[in-house]
């Protein structure tokens, strides 16, 4: 019974503390983080630079182990990276010795799927990120936005339980960003998937997330969580940007105050 309850959450983080290094040189990156992520959620994480956002993502991805506390996925401790949690990095880590197609196929190939299945998956996800016809291109021929879309398709190709993204659009220009955001929103809806996205852009968080978590300055603690549904409104209206409303500005203002307070304390 207890186990069933736990499985209600896809990710269940309890009292997570994360320390880099040892003794005098140690850095306390995260402290006392408790966070649950439900299936189908789009969770956005905001926080001042260096507060431990990436550390949180790396912990969920399985790249680093919690110093104390637990990080469970479907009730089981996360012991290392695996294909159930797809990761999209800040700068795309496409393999330049493989073309676009081979990059997208990498995950399914590693899992030993059949040729046909691999081909079907590749076609489907290249289509989903709007890169049909780019399969044979070398990765270094693509623009920044295209690269990030290939990276996304590559992560999606494994049908992971969730996708983790660390400031994936940070290096893109404003227009490309907006396009990427609606692409992600549509994919999230269409695939019924779970997203965990780190950003430093409050508008991005509010226009994509179903929940926005604001972290304090280092050591990162959860300051406040906001349940929002602007992304649903956008989907319903079939537009690709937020309809600015009283409610929107109220939330945005509150988040700005929270973060600015944190930064002021630092100085």
């Amino acid at each position: 019974m207890v186990n069933e309850e736990k499985k209600e959450f896809l990710i269940d983080i309890k009292n997570l503390k994360s320390v880099y290094g040892k003794n005098i040189d140690s850095v306390l990156a995260l402290d006392n983080i408790s966070l649950q992520i439900k299936r189908g959620e789009f969770l956005c994480v905001l926080g001042p630079s260096g507060c431990g956002k990436s550390t949180l993502l790396k912990t969920i991805a399985g790249y680093i182990k919690p110093t104390s506390g637990t990080c469970l996925m479907q009730g089981e401790s996360i012991t290392g990276p695996d294909w159930h949690r797809g990761v999209v990095f800040q700068s795309p880590t496409l393999y330049p010795w493989m073309n676009v197609k081979e990059n997208v196929e990498f995950g399914p190939k590693m899992r030993g799927l059949s040729e046909n299945e691999i081909k079907r998956i590749r076609t489907h996800f290249l289509d989903q990120v709007k890169l049909t016809g780019f399969g044979d291109k070398a990765t270094f021929e693509l623009s920044g936005g295209m690269k990030q879309r290939v990276a996304l398709a590559r992560a999606l190709a494994n049908y992971p339980q969730m996708i983790l993204m660390d400031e994936p659009f940070g290096a893109l220009d404003a227009l490309t960003r907006v396009n990427m955001q609606s692409l992600i929103r549509n994919i999230w809806k269409e695939n019924n998937s779970t997203f965990f996205l780190i950003t430093h852009d409050i508008d991005e968080a509010l226009s994509l997330g179903t929940r926005v978590v604001v972290l304090s300055k280092r050591p990162g603690r959860i300051l406040k969580e906001f349940n929002v549904d602007f992304t649903h409104t956008i989907l319903k209206n079939n537009s690709n940007h937020v309809m600015y409303s009283e409610k929107y500005f109220k939330v945005k203002n509150e988040i700005l105050d929270l973060i600015n307070n944190q930064i002021e304390k630092q100085h």
Binding site: D82, F89, A138, Y244, N253, D257, I263
Partner: protein
């Protein structure tokens, strides 16, 4: 929407962005500075060679030195043609070159197939590095001819000692390139591969090895260069065949024209080998310089 509120938000946003961007401004601006060999530089290169050859021609034409010491370009050309036709000491030029290249080839293949795995493993596992590194670091700066004498004592004067010598000369640069390549590899390549479900073995062959290829190639090119010069010197110390031996033998009989032919042949084959390697590099490591 009342504009005062918007302005307020705008101000706060700016403040927030400024601060959150503080740590992010070290992104490298990928300005591809491709060094194009433009016309002036090409002309300078050609001009330099015209001057060198011209000076050579004039010196011999004016008979400033005896022809035994400085053969004329014409004499060198005819000697080259004769050697090409009749060989040197009744052995054809191709046999001499073949003998040299056989040694070089065997030694380099041995160096490549051993240095790459050992180097990559050394980069991967610091315990293996602890075993191999100091040995390589010790013998690498030694002049190869210093331990060549020892190798002759152990393996005799013919091929075995030379191949061993060239192997040792070629091993170090490839090994060192591999170690440094693994150390420099983008860690996110490996992490992303793990998150895509790759096994340790796949990561090694599909990610680490290709990621290291550009540096491995640089290492191989260095190795070929080092081995080639070592080969020629080794043949000049002790040999019974080979292009280096031809030069050595000619010097015993003061045949300076043959010496110059030998040197030119060595120079051109050296350039040709490097050219071939660069061509291969472009084909195999096509992404080099694009990442």
């Amino acid at each position: 929407m009342d504009s005062k509120k918007e302005l307020d938000i705008f101000k706060k946003s700016i403040k927030f962005y400024k601060l959150s961007f503080n740590k992010r401004n070290n992104q490298n601006n990928n300005s591809e500075k491709k060094i194009k060999k433009n016309k002036t530089e090409r002309l300078l290169t050609i001009g330099t060679w015209i001057i060198i050859l011209g000076t050579w021609y004039i010196i011999t034409e004016l008979k400033l030195f005896s022809t035994t010491l400085v053969p004329s370009p014409y004499k060198v050309l005819t000697t080259f043609i004769t050697i090409l036709k009749e060989g040197y000491n009744n052995v054809s030029l191709w046999m001499h070159l073949g003998a040299s290249f056989q040694r070089l080839f065997i030694a380099l293949v041995l160096a490549i197939v051993t240095a790459i795995p050992i180097g990559l493993l050394s980069g991967y596992f610091s315990k293996i590095k602890a075993i191999v590194d100091s040995v390589v670091e010790f013998y690498r700066p030694l002049p190869p001819l210093a331990y060549y004498t020892l190798l002759i004592l152990w393996f005799g004067i013919d091929n075995k000692s030379k191949v061993t010598l060239l192997f040792l000369a070629g091993f170090a640069p490839i090994y060192l390139a591999c170690v440094s390549a693994v150390r420099k590899i983008n860690k996110d390549y490996i992490l992303s591969a793990k998150s895509l479900g790759a096994s340790q073995k796949s990561i090694f062959f599909k990610i680490v090895l290709p990621a290291c290829l550009p540096e491995i190639f640089t290492g191989i090119r260095t190795a070929v260069g080092v081995s080639y010069t070592t080969l020629v010197s080794a043949e000049m110390v002790a040999a019974t065949s080979g292009i280096g031996w031809m030069v050595l033998d000619a010097s015993n009989f003061l045949k300076s024209n043959v010496i110059v032919v030998g040197i030119l042949v060595m120079g051109f084959t050296g350039i040709l080998i490097d050219y071939g390697l660069r061509y291969l590099e472009k084909k195999i490591v096509f992404w080099k310089g694009h990442v």
